[in-house]
Amino acid sequence: MTMRILVVEDDKDVAGFVVKGLREAGHTVEHADNGRDGLFLAASENFDSIILDRMLPGGIDGLRLMETLRAQDNATPVLFLSALGQVDDRVKGLKAGGDDYLTKPFAFAELLARVEALTRRGKTDGPMTRLAVGDLEMDLLSRSVRRGEQKIELQPREFRLLEYLMRHAGQVVTRTMLLEGVWDYHFDPQTNVIDVHVSRLRQKIDKPFEMPLLHTVRNAGYMLRAEEV
């Protein structure tokens, strides 16, 4: 799925790296190196998502750009990319209307996963009652899961973990995203807690079946998808 992404970032190296990476991942990318141009592009063209630096030259910083955009009823998902990493900064960015916040320095895999998740989220806002990936089906109303003919019993947290993975099926989901999305934790524990929970879930949904659905993506995270990676 090709997306059109706007990158507003003044640091040449970071911008070059991000633009190159996103293009390699198959997306179309526009780049602005200051707030004024960024706002002009964001307001005049259609993007699937915007990657926005907080501190920008040109008189308009990231927050101002974001607020101006939202004031024009432009709901394009925005991911803040910032060196300001304190909790207050994150809260401020999200309050201004940002959809996600990533602190520099960052791993590209994390950025890519979050941008792709953001874009998908924007499109599936309507209420859903059923999720399906391959022969794995989840009924959100009766809170039951089955794969093929077989019913799968899940603990409440395992259910939420699987739901998150299914909502982002076909996308890479990082450990941090799972911690935030499933456990509502905003820090990284030193222990590999997420890996253990994912491997338990894998035991239940993949072990007895021939084709694995839950894949580990090296140096990035996990992905739930029906076809072989």
């Binding site: 990493g85 909790v87 602190t103 905003h186 820090f187 524990p189 030193q190 222990t191 807690v193 929970h197």
Partner: protein, 487 residues
């Protein structure tokens, strides 16, 4: 180490000022504020204020003394004249009485020695003097039934009298009065007394003002001498107590502030030292890997491997920085603004759920006992992180097959969260230092970690006005977060 607190002070952006410069600055502030009646010295202002208050209350006292004394005497004389008047008018109004009865009554009153101060005059309708001890109608007494204080001539003697004239039925006029020469004498005595007292009060007021000013100066001098020494870099100095309750309160606040400043300065020193020493190691490692790859790697795979491992090293360094910043953010106390009423019960059960899987995976038994409710005023996310750090540590140091305890309960209005393991523990001598940044016990040197975990837990506990206690779990470590409960 080797960096003393003085050299840190020297690096602070604010230059230490000379006393003269400080005074200058004080004057400037005074001028900007417009001063108080143009007086810039607070001591003089207090002194003047005291003198004014003292003067005003003395004046008030004198005035009230004056009017109550003089007024009382006046009132008494008026009452006497009034009752005399009424009696004489009643006599004149009797059916068979008349002017003759009034004259007889006056003559009999004048004959009595106790009425020496009484003054009477009766004139008939034609203006002929009929009785009384006044020589004639006093000039100036023009209106009937009104009070007059006039000089009179009394059988040839000049005097001052309070007088009241009435018209009797038949047209005769009568004057009733009292000699008030004695009252005038009292007036003089009182006035002189008050004038002298006034001088005395001015003197007392001035002396009092000077005393107050010197006391004030002395109190402030103690504070300013100590503060100046502290400003010059002697952070061990503290303000003296016992000067007086208000000043003690101020001194205690300033001393608390100084304690905090020196703690923070110690922290800064520790961290800069730690950054210099502890971060050098991973940076060196990353650098070596990259240089080694540049010089010796032969295949793209070897390059890639070296780069990936160097990236991991850098991530580790970033992790250390983030932990340091996080601790600094917590210690700065700004997150108190986001405090809310939180029941930690569910939070802790969530932690149990998150870590139980890992514990089981490693053959450990996580034993959780949580007594609800655990209400605190705090930051759920920070408590989560603190407990997560303790559990991370416990998992890291526990041998397979052992038990890790996670328990929480109320104890004397405090919420106690305990994480206990059966690992190697921390030697008693090291336990206090274990909460310092970058501290790593000898036994922990070989394991991964930054030495910041417990420092963060301790900072979180302190932010919540609580403590982190490390005790022996015989064997193992027992970490207790203790914070005030709500309600």
């Amino acid at each position: 180490m080797g960096q003393s607190s003085e050299s840190i002070v020297a690096q602070l952006p604010q230059p230490v000022r000379s006393p003269e410069a400080l005074r200058q600055a004080g004057r400037q502030v005074g001028r900007q504020a417009g001063g108080w009646l143009g007086i810039r010295s607070a001591g003089r202002r207090f002194a003047l204020l005291y003198a004014l208050m003292f003067g005003a209350s003395s004046c008030l006292l004198a005035v009230s003394l004056w009017y109550s004394t003089i007024g009382l005497v006046q009132h008494q004389v008026e009452n006497a004249i009034r009752s005399d008047d009424i009696a004489l008018l009643a006599t004149a109004a009797q059916p068979n009485g008349g002017l003759a009865d009034v004259i007889a009554a006056i003559n009999s009153r004048l004959a009595a020695p106790e009425n020496a101060g009484s003054i009477y005059l009766v004139l008939d309708a034609q203006g002929t003097r009929m009785a009384g001890n006044l020589d004639g109608w006093p000039p100036g007494l023009t209106q009937m039934e009104a009070w007059y204080q006039l000089p009179v001539s009394r059988q040839g003697q000049a005097s001052v009298a309070l007088l009241r004239a009435e018209v009797l039925p038949g047209g005769a006029r009568i004057i009733v009065g009292r000699d008030v020469r004695a009252r005038a004498a009292l007036w003089h005595v009182l006035r002189n007394g008050l004038i002298w007292t006034g001088f005395l009060m001015v003197a007392l007021g001035l002396i009092g003002a000077l005393v107050i000013r010197s006391i004030f100066r002395r109190m402030v001098r103690d504070i300013s001498i100590t503060s100046r020494a502290i400003a010059k870099g002697d952070l061990s100095r503290r303000l003296p107590l016992g000067v007086g309750e208000e000043f003690d309160e101020l001194a205690i606040i300033i001393n608390d502030m100084l304690d905090r400043i020196s703690r923070l300065m110690d922290g800064v020193r520790q961290v800069s030292n730690a950054i210099a020493h502890d971060l050098r190691t991973p940076v060196t490692r990353a650098r070596t890997r990259l240089e080694d790859a540049a010089l010796h790697a032969e295949t793209p795979d070897e390059w890639r491997a070296a780069i990936e491992r160097a990236t991991l090293d850098l991530d580790g360094i970033v992790g250390v920085f983030e932990a340091l910043l996080r601790i600094a953010e917590i210690e700065a106390g700004s997150r108190r603004a986001a405090f809310a009423e939180v029941d930690l019960t569910q939070t802790l059960w969530d932690m149990d759920e998150l870590y139980r899987a890992v514990a089981e995976e490693r053959g450990l038994h996580l034993r959780t006992i949580i007594a609800a409710p655990l209400m605190v005023l705090g930051d759920r996310e920070l408590v989560q992180q603190a407990v997560a750090n303790l559990l991370d540590n416990a998992l890291k140091f526990s041998a397979p097959g052992t038990v890790i305890d996670l328990s929480a309960h109320m104890e004397d209005n405090f919420v106690e969260i305990v994480v206990a393991d059966r690992g190697p523990g921390i030697a008693a001598a090291d336990r206090n230092r274990a909460m310092e940044r970058f501290f790593r016990a000898e036994s922990a040197r070989s394991t991964a970690g930054s030495g910041l975990g417990l420092a963060l837990v301790s900072a979180v506990a302190q932010l919540h006005n609580g403590t982190l206690q490390l005790t022996d779990n015989t064997p193992g470590l027992r970490a207790t977060i203790c914070m005030p409960a709500l309600g």
